[in-house]
C-alpha cells in the first residue's frame, strides 16, 4: 500500500489537503501528527474553534460512523480518541480564551455496581470531540452522586451507562428519584450500554437510548437543538 511512499510533510500541504490528511491521521490514531497539524493550522491563523470543528470533529465523525457500521471496533476508536485528545489539549485553553460556542454540558457516569466504563469513556471522548463539555463521574455511581453533579454543574444532559443485567435497572432508580424531586424535565437523560435497547430506554423514562458513542453525539445534538428552539419559542 503506502509503505513505499515518501513521508508526507504536513507543513507543505495547503489548508485543504492538510485538513484531509489530519482526518486520515485521526482515523489512524496518529497522535503526534494530529498535534503537529493543529499547531500548523493555528500558526496559519485559523481560529481554534475552526481547527476543532473541521479536521478534528470532522475526522471523529467519520470514525464514529465506521464504529456504528461495524467497520472499526473499540481498539481503533480508542486510538483515534487518543489522537483527538492530543489535539484537544492544545486547543482547550485557546477555546476558553476565544469564547468559542459550546454545545452543552453533560454529566456522565456508569451506574452503581457496574465497573464497565469502556463504552462510557468512548461516549465522553466523542462528546468532547463534538464540542460538549463533559463532567465524568467514573464508575459505580449511586443516585446521589448523579443528582449532586447535575445540580452543581448546571448540566444540560445526564448520561448513564450500564453493561450488566444486574445493574441496568439502576438507571430507573435514578430517573425515578429525579421525578420525585420534580427535576426530571430539567435535564435530557440519555442511557446506553450493551444489553440495553430503545424500548428499555423508554420504559425506564429516559429521553433516549443511544446504541453507541456516535449515536450518543447525534442524539445529544438533536435534543440540545430542540431545547434551544423551545427556549426561543417560550
Amino acid at each position: 500500500m503506502s509503505e513505499n511512499e515518501d513521508d508526507i510533510i504536513l507543513s507543505e500541504l495547503d489548508d485543504e489537503e492538510l485538513v484531509q490528511q489530519m482526518m486520515d491521521d485521526l482515523y489512524d490514531g496518529l497522535k503526534e501528527e494530529i498535534e503537529e497539524g493543529v499547531n500548523i493550522l493555528l500558526e496559519r491563523g485559523w481560529e481554534p474553534y475552526r481547527v476543532l470543528t473541521e479536521p478534528l470533529v470532522g475526522g471523529m465523525t467519520i470514525v464514529g460512523h465506521d464504529f456504528r457500521d461495524g467497520i472499526l471496533f473499540v481498539p481503533e476508536v480508542l486510538l483515534a480518541a487518543g489522537a483527538m485528545k492530543g489535539g484537544m489539549a492544545i486547543l482547550k485553553p485557546l477555546l476558553v480564551e476565544t469564547g468559542a460556542p459550546k454545545q452543552g454540558k453533560m454529566v456522565i457516569g456508569t451506574v452503581k455496581g457496574d465497573i464497565h466504563d469502556i463504552g462510557k469513556n468512548l461516549v465522553a471522548m466523542m462528546m468532547e470531540g463534538a464540542g460538549f463539555e463533559i463532567v465524568d463521574l467514573g464508575i459505580n455511581n449511586p443516585v446521589e452522586e448523579y443528582l449532586d453533579a447535575i445540580r452543581r454543574e448546571e448540566a444540560d444532559i445526564l448520561g448513564m451507562s450500564a453493561l450488566l443485567t444486574t445493574t441496568m435497572p439502576y438507571m430507573k432508580v435514578v430517573i425515578d428519584t429525579m421525578k420525585e424531586q420534580g427535576i426530571r424535565d430539567d435535564y435530557i437523560v440519555l442511557v446506553g450500554g450493551a444489553p440495553l435497547n430503545e424500548e428499555f430506554g423508554r420504559a425506564i423514562g429516559a429521553d433516549a437510548y443511544c446504541r453507541d458513542a456516535a449515536v450518543a453525539v447525534e442524539t445529544a445534538k438533536t435534543f440540545i437543538a430542540r431545547k434551544h428552539n423551545q427556549g426561543v419559542a417560550s
Binding site: 491521521d25 467497520i71 455496581g113 432508580v173 425506564i204
Partner: protein, 336 residues
Amino acid sequence: MTNALSRLLETRDWLLADGATGTNLFNMGLSSGDAPELWNVEEPEKIRTLYRGAVNAGSDLFLTNSFGGNASRLKLHGAEKRARELSRISAELGREVADAAGRPVIVAGSVGPTGEIMAPMGSLTHAAAVEIFHEQAEGLKEGGADVLWLETISAIEEYKAAAEAFALADMPWCGTMSFDTAGRTMMGVTSADMVTMVEKLPNPPLAFGANCGVGASDLLRTVLGFAAQGTERPIIAKGNAGIPKYHDGHIHYDGTPELMAEYACLARDAGATIIGGCCGTMPEHLEKMKEALETRPRGPRPTLEEIAEKMGGFSSASDGTGDDGAAPRRRSRRRG
C-alpha cells in the same frame, strides 16, 4: 487428563448447561447495583436455590455465582480482598447441590472479565490480569469446582491471561467470548479469530464458544462461524433469552421457553455440544430446551436464512467472517 466434564463429554453428544444467574437472583430479591457474589455468604440458601433451579430443570452443568468475583470488580463493593473466599464458597455451595443430584452434574467455576482494558491500549498489564484470574481460580478450585468457566470476554489478551492463570491453578477449563458488536466482540474479534487463538494456546480449553451478546440469532451465526473453521473442539452456545424489557420494576427477557427450545436444537444442528442460556434464561426455559434436545431429531446445519426465519433477524448484515463482498471494509487511507 481426566476430569468430570471430559468424562461426561465422552458419553454424551450434547450437554445442557444452565441459564441466567443475574436474572434469577433479581427475582429472589437482589437489588440492582449490589454484588451478587456477596450473597454466597449472606444468602447461601438463595444461591443453593439458584443452582437447584438449573439442576432440577435438567442441566448437566451449572456455573457458580462468581462471575464478578475477581479483585478488580469486587473493589467496587470494598470486597477486593475477598475474591478467593467468595469464589471458594460459590463452588462449595455448587458442590453440595451437584453431589446431591443423583446423576453427574458439573460444577463450572464462573470467571467473568476484569472490566479493564489491557495494555498497551489500557492500563491492565498481562501480569496483573494473570494474578487476578489466578487468585479467583485457586478459590474456585479449593471450593471443589470441576472445571473453570471463563465467560463474556471481549479481548484476546484477556482470554489468554485467564488461560495462563488456569494453567497455574492446574485446572481444566472452558471459555466463551461475547460477540455483541456487529457479530464480533467489542474489541473486533470474529468467530474465526477466536478459533485460531484457542487452538494456539499451550493449555487450550476443553470447550470454547459464545455467551450473552445480542439475542439468539446472532449467537447461532457465531456458532456457525466456529464450525466453519472445522474445529474438533466442543463448541459452547449460551445465548440470551431474547432481549431485555422492563415490566413493573422487573427486567424481563422476551424470549419464550418455546423459542429457547427452538434455539437449543438449532445450536446443536449448527455444531454446538454444550448448550445453555445466558441472561433471561430461567428454569422453565431450560426444561423446554432439555425436552426439545431429547425428543427432536438432529437436523442439517441451519442456514442463516433458516435461523433468521425461526429466531428473528441479525443485528448486522455481516459478522466479519468469510469473503462476503458486502462486508464493510475499513476505508483505505493515504498512509499508515
